[in-house]
C-alpha cells in the first residue's frame, strides 16, 4: 500500500521527505497548538530540554521549509506517528500516516490539487468510494466576528458538534443564528457558500467566488461529485489551519480516514510570511482496515518465478536470474529437486509449465 501511495505522489511531482522521530517540544506546540501538544509523547534530552515524539508531520515540514527559506515545493511523506489517545479504542498509539504538502501556488488551484491528489492516492490502492467534506476556518471566524460573538470557543464547540441548542445559548442574535445554522446544517455544492454570503452581507462574496472556482477545478480533476461543502468542518484539533480545511471519509468506517487544509498562518508564525501552504494526511492503517472490511484487500506481491538449476548448472542459473531481474522479472534461484514449477536450467533452459525453451 505504501508503494502505491508513493507512486501516486511521485506521479504528481511530489518529492519524499523524512522527518526526525524526535523534535523540540516547544516548536511542535508552537505550530500545532496546546490541545494537540497534550496528546504527544514527551521525553527529556540529556540536558533536560523537553523533546516530543513525532505525532504528526506537517509542523515538522513547515519548520524545515522555513529553515531552508523555501517558499515553494511539493513534498510527501509516509511515516509512523505516535500519539497518546486515551478514549479512542479504534486508534492505536502508533499509526502510519501518508501525506503531502503543497507550498506556494494560488489558493484555489493548490487546494483543488491536494484534494484531487488525496482522492487519487486512495484510488490507487482501490478505495474509490471516499468522499470529502469542505469547510473554511477563516470564513467561520469572520462570520463570528461579523456578529460580534464573544465566546468564540463555545461557538466553535457548538458548530463543530452541530448542536443548535448550544448555538442558541451562545448567541441570542437571530441574524447570527440564521447564518450559523446555515453553516451547521447545509450540505451541498458551492451554492451553500453563496447562500451564506447573502445572509451575512458585504465582504463575503470573495469566499463564494473562491468556492465556485474550487469546484470548477475539482470538476476538471473529475472528482467534484465526491466533494461536498459542510462549513461546520473545522478540524479544530489542529490550531494551525487558517483557510479551507477538509475531511476524507468512507462509509462503514466510523472515523475520517484523513483530512487536511491550508496553514499559511503557521508558515508566518515560523517566520515565512506571505507563504502559502496546504496539505493533507491519511491514516494508512485505516485504509488497510477499510479494504479488509470491504473484502477487497490489496493484491499480494507479484508472483515470483523460480529458476531451478540442475546439478552443474548453478552459475548459469544465477546469470539467468540476474538477467531476468534486469528486465523486471521477480525470481529466485533454487536447486531442482525433480518437482516444482519454474524455469529449469540444464544444458537447455526450459519453462516447465509450457515445456518450451525459455528466453527471458
Amino acid at each position: 500500500m505504501e508503494n502505491r501511495f508513493r507512486e501516486t505522489f511521485e506521479l504528481w511531482g511530489y518529492r519524499e521527505v523524512r522527518t526526525s522521530t524526535v523534535d523540540y517540544f516547544d516548536i511542535i506546540r508552537g505550530g500545532a497548538g496546546e490541545g494537540f501538544a497534550d496528546s504527544i509523547f514527551k521525553v527529556q534530552d540529556s540536558d533536560g530540554r523537553l523533546l516530543s515524539m513525532r505525532g504528526e508531520v506537517t509542523t515538522q515540514i513547515a519548520r524545515m521549509l522555513v529553515s531552508k527559506a523555501r517558499s515553494e515545493g511539493r513534498l510527501f511523506y509516509i511515516t509512523n506517528c505516535i500519539r497518546f489517545m486515551e478514549a479512542k479504542p479504534l486508534s492505536q498509539r502508533e499509526f502510519w500516516q501518508a501525506g503531502a504538502e503543497l507550498v506556494g501556488g494560488r489558493e484555489a488551484e493548490a487546494d483543488a490539487e491536494v484534494i484531487a491528489l488525496s482522492l487519487g492516492a486512495l484510488e490507487s490502492v482501490g478505495i474509490r468510494e471516499a468522499r470529502v467534506d469542505l469547510g473554511n476556518v477563516e470564513l467561520f471566524r469572520r462570520v463570528a466576528e461579523r456578529f460580534g460573538i464573544g465566546d468564540f470557543d463555545a461557538l466553535r464547540r457548538a458548530v463543530a458538534s452541530k448542536s443548535l441548542g448550544d448555538l442558541k445559548r451562545v448567541t441570542p442574535d437571530e441574524g447570527a443564528q440564521e447564518a450559523l445554522s446555515c453553516i451547521m446544517t447545509r450540505r451541498g455544492g458551492p451554492e451553500v457558500v453563496r447562500e451564506l454570503s447573502g445572509m451575512v452581507g458585504e465582504g463575503f462574496d470573495g469566499y463564494a467566488d473562491y468556492f465556485d472556482e474550487l469546484f470548477g477545478l475539482l470538476k476538471t480533476y473529475g472528482c467534484a461529485d465526491r466533494v461536498r461543502v459542510d462549513l461546520s468542518t473545522l478540524r479544530e484539533e489542529m490550531k494551525y489551519y487558517n483557510g479551507t480545511v477538509f475531511e476524507i471519509f468512507l462509509g462503514g468506517l466510523g472515523v475520517p480516514i484523513g483530512g487536511g487544509g491550508r496553514y499559511d498562518s503557521m508558515m508566518k508564525e515560523f517566520g515565512l510570511g506571505d507563504t502559502r501552504a496546504t496539505g493533507f494526511a491519511m491514516s494508512v492503517d485505516l485504509c488497510v482496515k477499510a479494504l479488509e472490511a470491504s473484502g477487497l484487500g490489496l493484491e499480494g506481491p507479484r508472483a515470483s518465478t523460480a529458476v531451478l538449476y540442475c546439478d552443474g548448472f548453478r552459475d548459469k542459473a544465477i546469470r539467468l536470474a540476474c538477467e531476468m531481474r534486469r528486465k523486471g522479472i521477480i525470481c529466485t534461484v533454487e536447486r531442482y529437486s525433480g518437482q516444482g514449477e519454474g524455469i529449469a536450467v540444464g544444458r537447455e533452459i526450459v519453462d516447465l509449465r509450457t515445456g518450451r525453451r525459455y528466453a527471458p
Binding site: A87, K88, P89, L90, R131, D133, A160, S161, K162, S163, L164, G165, D166, R187, R228, D230, E247, F249, L250, G251, G252, L253, G254, V255, P256
Partner: protein, 209 residues
C-alpha cells in the same frame, strides 16, 4: 448499505424517556429486553441497549449511527460526535459537593491535595485545573455521595437533579461543573454517508419533542 442503529441507555434515568421518545416517533423494540441489539417496528432500524457512558464510544466509532445519552457523558468521554438535538429530558447538574459542615464555600477554597471522588474523572480533573486546585481524583462507579461522610474523600463531583440525594447524605453543593440534558448524537461519518436516513430520523424525533 445497512440501516440505522440507534443506541439507548440499557438502564438508568434516561432509558425510559428515551424509549418513550422513540416509541412516539414510531420506533418500538420487537425483541425482548435481553436482546441488546433489537429489531424494531421500523424497517431497517435497530435499537442497541448499552451503558449510557459507553454510548459515545459506540457512536464515535460508527458501530451505532445515532445515540441518546447525557451531555455529561459526552463531555466526559471527550469524543467528537454531532449533537443533533437537545432532547430536554434528564436535566441535571454536575456539581462539586462537600460535607454539610465543611468551611469551604466554593471549589477554589478546597485545600491543595484534597481528595475528590467521582464517576467523571476527566471533567473533574479539568474543572479543578481551571480553578487552580490540585486534587487527587478517586474514580468510583456509583453511590459517590456516601464517600465523604465515610472519610474516603474530602469532596465529590457528581450529578444532582434536585439536590435531595446530596442533602440526605449530609452534603452541600459548592460549585457547578456543567449542566446536562439528554442529547441525540450522531456519528460524523454516518451523518454524511447516510445523510437522507439520518435527516429523516432526526426530523421525526425533533417533531416529537
Amino acid at each position: 448499505m445497512r440501516g440505522l442503529i440507534i443506541a439507548v441507555p440499557n438502564k438508568g434515568r434516561l432509558r425510559e424517556p428515551a424509549l418513550r421518545l422513540l416509541d412516539s416517533a414510531g420506533i418500538r423494540r420487537i425483541d425482548d429486553d435481553r436482546v441488546y441489539l433489537a429489531n424494531t417496528t421500523m424497517d431497517g432500524v435497530q435499537v442497541l441497549s448499552v451503558r449510557a457512558m459507553d454510548i459515545p464510544v459506540y457512536v464515535y466509532n460508527g458501530i451505532a449511527d445515532l445515540g441518546i445519552t447525557g451531555r455529561d457523558v459526552i463531555a466526559e468521554t471527550g469524543l467528537e460526535v454531532y449533537e443533533l438535538a437537545d432532547l430536554g429530558f434528564g436535566a441535571c447538574d454536575l456539581v462539586v459537593a462537600v460535607k454539610e459542615g465543611s468551611p469551604h464555600g466554593q471549589p477554589k477554597d478546597l485545600p491543595q491535595g484534597s481528595k475528590v471522588a467521582t464517576e467523571f474523572p476527566n471533567l473533574a480533573r479539568r474543572y479543578f485545573n481551571e480553578n487552580g486546585v490540585q486534587v487527587e481524583i478517586i474514580t468510583l462507579r456509583g453511590a459517590v455521595e456516601i464517600a465523604p461522610v465515610l472519610g474516603l474523600v474530602d469532596g465529590i463531583v457528581d450529578l444532582s437533579s434536585t439536590g435531595a440525594t446530596l442533602e440526605r447524605n449530609g452534603l452541600k453543593p459548592i460549585g457547578k461543573v456543567l449542566s446536562s440534558t439528554a442529547r441525540l448524537i450522531c456519528n460524523k461519518v454516518s451523518y454524511r454517508t447516510k445523510y437522507d436516513m439520518v435527516e429523516k430520523m432526526v426530523n421525526r424525533i425533533r417533531g416529537r419533542l
